[in-house]
């Protein structure tokens, strides 16, 4: 951000002050544009790579042809079009939605807990959601209520229990960044054990299904999961986007935030519920994908800005790009068999986590 060498003495200069304020206010348009370009490039690369290679030109043509009012001859065969629209694209879009959701949820948790190491996975939220989802999937519980499907509802209940319990443990232990994470570790262990127990009670076929889902995977056919996830992404995404500025105010502490006119408890509750719901929805369609919520906001923070005004929206973009990219590896590295995408994110994320720990040494944002 320091793009000019500043004079050492303070000189009143209306334009400079104004542009500095604009920079502070701005959404880093440049970064957003670069992010979108990279996302599209990764998406295109993903759509064209795999067992059946599709030509870039054909994919582009088919996509433009799909847009209403535009007619383009895609030069793809019917089989190729089916592969593109029923296999590659649903999986790609799902990966982007899940990655973006986990990125935004991680950024939001880091903001409300004033803790750069908060992440849906480390807080036990994912494990809680996973346990809820295992119960729903494995035992065929019916918790559907109105427009809410069973698996997301069960996952959300588990997620909320986990995050509230982590918070309660942290409060008892002095609410430092360390105690919050230790609370999360305890919750994650508890819910993982509960998951294992629940899976043991299932018959072998059922158990195999649930386990492979749990590893974190984007193995889909058709657009069903995308349709399931999309409403949650839209609603929670809007709520968290609106609250991104509250997260900046919370950075000066609850007392100062209150004297500036924010209700910290209300903001925190709204953000935790929205982020947990988003995590739960992502978990219910893709299983447990670790470390995306931790790594992605950090990348934005390192490269662009510490302001949540920027971190929240760009985490969606970077998270989508990251997971779409990693999923290419999941599909192709061991082809024809598949690697769970959660395994790759953990391989990338765990060393990253170690580096962040070493660099930050528990300092808060």
């Amino acid at each position: 951000m320091a793009d000019a060498s500043l004079p050492t003495t303070a000189l009143p200069d209306a334009d400079a002050a104004h542009s500095a304020v604009r920079r502070a206010f701005g959404m880093s348009i440049g970064a957003a544009v670069v992010g979108v370009v990279v996302l599209v490039a990764v998406g295109l690369f993903s759509a064209t790579s795999g067992a059946a290679g599709l030509p870039v030109k054909g994919v582009l043509g088919a996509l433009f042809d799909w847009v209403p009012l535009i007619g383009v001859d895609s030069s793809l065969s019917t089989t190729q079009e089916n592969i593109l629209f029923e296999i590659r694209l649903p999986r790609l879009v799902l990966g982007m939605l899940v990655g973006g959701s986990l990125g935004v949820a991680g950024a939001s948790y880091q903001g409300v807990f004033r803790n750069p190491l908060a992440d849906p996975y480390l807080l036990g939220v994912s494990a809680g959601a996973g346990f809820g989802a295992v119960l729903a999937l494995g035992f065929g519980l019916d918790l559907s209520w109105g427009p809410f499907d069973t698996v997301p509802a069960a996952a959300f209940a588990g997620a909320l229990v986990a995050v509230l319990a982590s918070m309660a443990i942290a409060r008892g232990g002095g609410a430092s960044p360390a105690t919050l994470l230790l609370g999360g570790v305890a919750m994650a262990a508890l819910f993982s054990a509960a998951q294992t127990y629940a899976i043991q009670q299932l018959n072998e076929t059922r158990a195999r299904e649930v386990l492979s889902w749990l590893f974190g995977q984007l193995n889909t056919t058709g657009w069903k999961q995308v349709g399931l996830l999309l409403p949650y992404v839209v609603v929670c995404g809007v709520v968290l986007f609106i609250h991104r500025r509250h997260l900046d105010v919370l950075r000066v502490g609850d007392d100062e935030a209150r004297s500036l006119g924010l209700d910290p408890a209300r903001s925190r509750l709204v953000v935790i519920v929205a982020a947990s719901l988003l995590t739960a929805a992502a978990v219910s369609v893709s299983g447990l994908i670790a470390f995306v919520g931790l790594v992605v906001p950090h990348i934005v923070r390192l490269l662009i800005s510490h302001s949540y005004r920027v971190i929240v929206p760009l985490s969606a973009l970077v998270g989508a790009t990251f997971l779409a990219f990693v999923d290419i590896g999941a599909r192709t590295l061991l082809a024809p068999s598949e690697l769970p995408v959660g395994v790759i994110t953990a391989f990338v994320g765990a060393p990253f986590f170690a580096v962040v720990l070493w660099r930050d040494r528990w300092s808060t944002t």
């Binding site: 009143p12 500095a20 304020v21 300092s363």
Partner: protein, 278 residues
């Protein structure tokens, strides 16, 4: 008191007395079983600088915190129009503000607009213009892109004042605003606030440790001890050596130097037998 003293402290008393900008009636604050503010009454007139003095733990900060809604109190705290103060009415400059890592000065000053945002929480053009005019007003333009965590104590204090100004509140509360600053910066921050009080018509309520600075800048002083007001009035009336010595628990003298009151610890080794400590 010598006539010189009373004459020198009269100049800044405001001539017009309108409705008070802020008033406290029988304000009490307790932590657990202990009452730390015990029935404080005060009135802050519009455009006035009211200084709150008293030893550590007297309840000065707690009183200020209850005015901005950070402490549970009984009694009444009201603005001139009878409302309870909110973040758009009263701005607090805290004693030890938190300077977040990686936040620029401009971003920090924009936080002052929090109370004025709509539900989409997006700053309007007006908010941005207020923030940049405050930066200009305090000559902080050159710092606008610096990270607040890298500022020196004096710079940081100016930035916190800038954030309070961006709140555009008629009442400014200062909680020992200069306790971490060297002498030069103490004076410049207080002069800045005094200047703003005159030009922007702010009313200032400040908890102050430096009694000489309090004498110089405040129109009126309130001396608090153990949560109670023990003296109130113009600086010359409140800054009595006997009273101060009793409240602060150490011998203090008040001396006029160039027409201003200076409060000093009593020199113990002076060759003046009647003043010698027992």
């Amino acid at each position: 008191m010598s006539p010189v003293l009373t004459a020198s402290t009269q100049g800044s008393e405001s001539a017009i007395r309108s409705a008070p900008a802020l008033s406290c009636r029988d304000v009490r604050v307790s932590f657990r079983d202990q009452e730390v503010v015990c029935g404080v009454n005060l009135e802050l007139d519009t455009g006035q600088w009211l200084g709150i003095i008293g030893p550590n733990g007297a309840g000065k900060s707690t009183l200020l915190r209850s005015i901005v809604g950070l402490a549970y109190y009984s009694g009444a705290i009201a603005l001139g129009d009878g409302r309870t103060p909110a973040a758009a009415d009263v701005a607090l400059v805290p004693q030890a503000p938190i300077m977040p890592k990686g936040m620029t000065v401009a971003e920090y000053v924009l936080l002052g607009r929090t109370a004025h945002l709509g539900w989409l929480a997006r700053e309007s053009r007006a908010d941005r213009e207020i923030a940049s005019s405050v930066l200009n007003r305090l000559e902080l333009t050159a710092f606008a892109d610096r990270f607040v965590s890298t500022l020196s104590g004096g710079e940081a204090q100016q930035v916190v004042v800038a954030r309070a100004l961006a709140q555009q509140c008629p009442v400014l509360l200062l909680d020992e605003p200069t306790s971490a600053l060297d002498l030069g910066h103490q004076v410049s921050v207080l002069e800045l606030v005094d200047d703003l009080r005159r030009t922007e018509g702010l009313s200032v309520l400040a908890a102050m440790h430096d009694l000489s600075a309090a004498a110089r800048f405040a129109d009126r002083l309130i001396l608090i001890d153990h949560g109670r007001i023990v003296a109130e009035g113009r600086p010359a009336a409140v800054l009595q050596p006997d009273l101060l010595s009793a409240v602060y628990g150490t011998p203090l003298t008040v001396q006029p130097i160039d027409g201003e009151l200076v409060v000093l610890p009593e020199p113990r080794r002076r060759a003046k037998p009647p003043k010698e400590a027992p």
